[in-house]
């Protein structure tokens, strides 16, 4: 059973819809006792960092997740803010993150652009974009040549060679997918990325990791 963690933020219904379309067994829950029994976990998230981490802690979910993810090594997929919460902290807020990934979350540097473009980038990064795979990963297995995903965010993970599995470009290249053992996350929204997101969630649901 895949549990989609409900901590008061995030588009839970869309994730559940997509998993249902795939025929995966999934449920939404914010109850620590149910989360504690998950075979796999999805941590979605839309909203502000501090609000997210505070909600997780207030509902005793942070503790339950720590136990499941770090001690029991249950596979978990973070989406958007969910991925960012897994880092050590964010420039968006004051609170420390879960620190499962040894990197921080930073704001888009609007004046930094790739050499051939002269216009400052617009933030939020709100676009369908391609990803460049740096390290082979089950999530991107069978990735279509034209694959693109929907991004909507103003912050992103800082560069981190140990954890980055894919990057994307908005003004400059930044990590859009990360992994450390059973812990993975994507900056884009698979649940909003049509068949490309469907393929990624299928990979997550069906493979052992």
């Amino acid at each position: 059973m895949i549990i989609i963690v409900d901590y008061g933020l995030g588009n839970l219904g869309s994730v559940e819809n997509m998993l249902r379309r795939l025929g995966a067994t999934a449920a939404i829950s914010g109850d620590p006792s149910i989360v504690a029994q998950a075979d796999k976990l999805i941590l979605p998230g839309v909203g502000a960092f501090d609000q997210g981490i505070t909600n997780l802690r207030a509902r005793a979910l942070a503790q339950t997740l720590q136990e499941r993810v770090i001690e029991r090594r249950v596979p978990i997929l973070g989406i958007c803010l969910g991925l960012q919460l897994m880092t050590t902290g964010s420039e968006e807020g004051q609170e420390p993150g879960l620190a499962w990934l040894e990197t921080k979350t930073v704001r888009f540097q609007t004046n930094r652009t790739s050499s051939d473009k002269h216009t400052p980038i617009r933030v939020p990064h709100m676009a369908w974009n391609e990803v460049r795979i740096l390290r082979e990963d089950v999530l991107f297995g069978g990735l279509h040549r034209d694959a693109r995903f929907y991004f909507v965010h103003s912050y992103h993970l800082a560069e981190s060679p140990e954890t980055t599995i894919a990057v994307t470009t908005h003004g400059y290249e930044f990590p859009c997918a990360a992994r450390r053992d059973n812990i993975a996350g994507v900056q884009f929204h698979p649940e909003k990325s049509h068949r490309f997101g469907l393929a990624l969630l299928k990979n997550f649901a069906e493979t052992e990791q």
């Binding site: 588009n11 219904g13 869309s14 819809n17 997509m18 839309v46 909203g47 502000a48 609000q51 609007t110 473009k117 400052p120 617009r122 933030v123 939020p124 709100m126 676009a127 369908w128 974009n129 391609e130 034209d146 929907y150 909507v152 965010h153 103003s154 470009t169 908005h170 929204h189 649940e191 909003k192 990325s193 049509h194 068949r195 997101g197 469907l198």
Partner: protein
């Protein structure tokens, strides 16, 4: 990365409608059916606006939005009568990716600020309907373009960016439904006044109009009539351009 192309659907009496310069309403179809078709066509994003909510003093209907969101494997922006934090809570819970605020943003900029703080700028889009008055001056109008709010569009956009809006949905009332092209000087002026994405709306008739709007500074384009009407007699037919036709000519940057 290619620019976003976003069908914009209007909810009126009895279902989806299309208007021309905000008049001459025509019935287009059942919302869920149309949304289902757009989902199958893998559109980038969808905007659904309940255009009568503000004039009728109604709040958004969360169960309607839930049914719509259930059909979408792409982002759904919903707007129409959004004026309170409760509206936002219900809409996000129902599955909307973004909420579009129009009249409330003009009445109470502080509402946009509060909304952005609670849900993040990327979840809050501010729509503005721009119309030329009899004196020739363009300004922001509300209530189905019946009330001239006497605000310059570029100034309004900049103000909205300051209070935390994540995106501007810039609609030209004068071009709406005409399929003669976007109001490019307006698109350029507003795009230059902000650093957040601007979505051009009102007047698209073909893919070259999209390219013009992007060249003028828009980050994305929206269209209504172009995607729901077809042919000489404007039969209702849901269409969406294929990826190949949207790629800009060689050498031109796409974002």
């Amino acid at each position: 990365m290619r620019f976003r192309v976003i069908p914009c659907l209007l909810l009126g009496e009895g279902g989806l409608v299309k208007t021309r310069r905000f008049k001459n309403e025509r019935y287009v179809g059942d919302p869920l059916n149309v949304i289902r078709i757009f989902n199958e066509k893998e559109v980038d994003e969808l905007i659904v606006l309940d255009v009568l909510a503000t004039v009728q003093g109604r709040q958004p209907n969360a169960s309607t939005v839930k049914a719509m969101a259930g059909e979408c494997f792409m982002p759904l922006s919903y707007g129409g009568g959004v004026s309170s934090m409760t509206d936002l809570e219900h809409l996000f819970k129902a599955g909307a990716e973004k909420v579009v605020v129009n009249a409330a943003a003009v009445d109470t900029p502080g509402f946009v600020q509060e909304a952005a703080r609670a849900y993040g700028s990327q979840s809050i889009a501010v729509a503005m309907d721009v119309r030329r008055s009899v004196f020739g001056r363009q300004s922001v109008w509300t209530h189905r373009a019946t009330r001239d709010r006497s605000i310059d569009p570029a100034i309004h956009a900049a103000r909205m960016e300051d209070v935390g809006a994540g995106e501007i949905l810039l609609n030209s009332v004068d071009r709406e439904g005409t399929r003669e092209g976007y109001d490019l000087p307006l698109v350029e002026r507003v795009s230059q006044s902000v650093r957040i994405p601007v979505v051009a709306s009102g007047g698209a008739g073909c893919v070259s109009h999209f390219l013009e709007a992007i060249a003028a500074g828009a980050s994305a384009v929206s269209a209504g009539s172009m995607f729901v009407f077809f042919g000489k007699h404007d039969a209702v037919l849901i269409t969406y351009p294929d990826a190949a036709s949207l790629n800009p000519p060689c050498g031109r940057p796409s974002s």
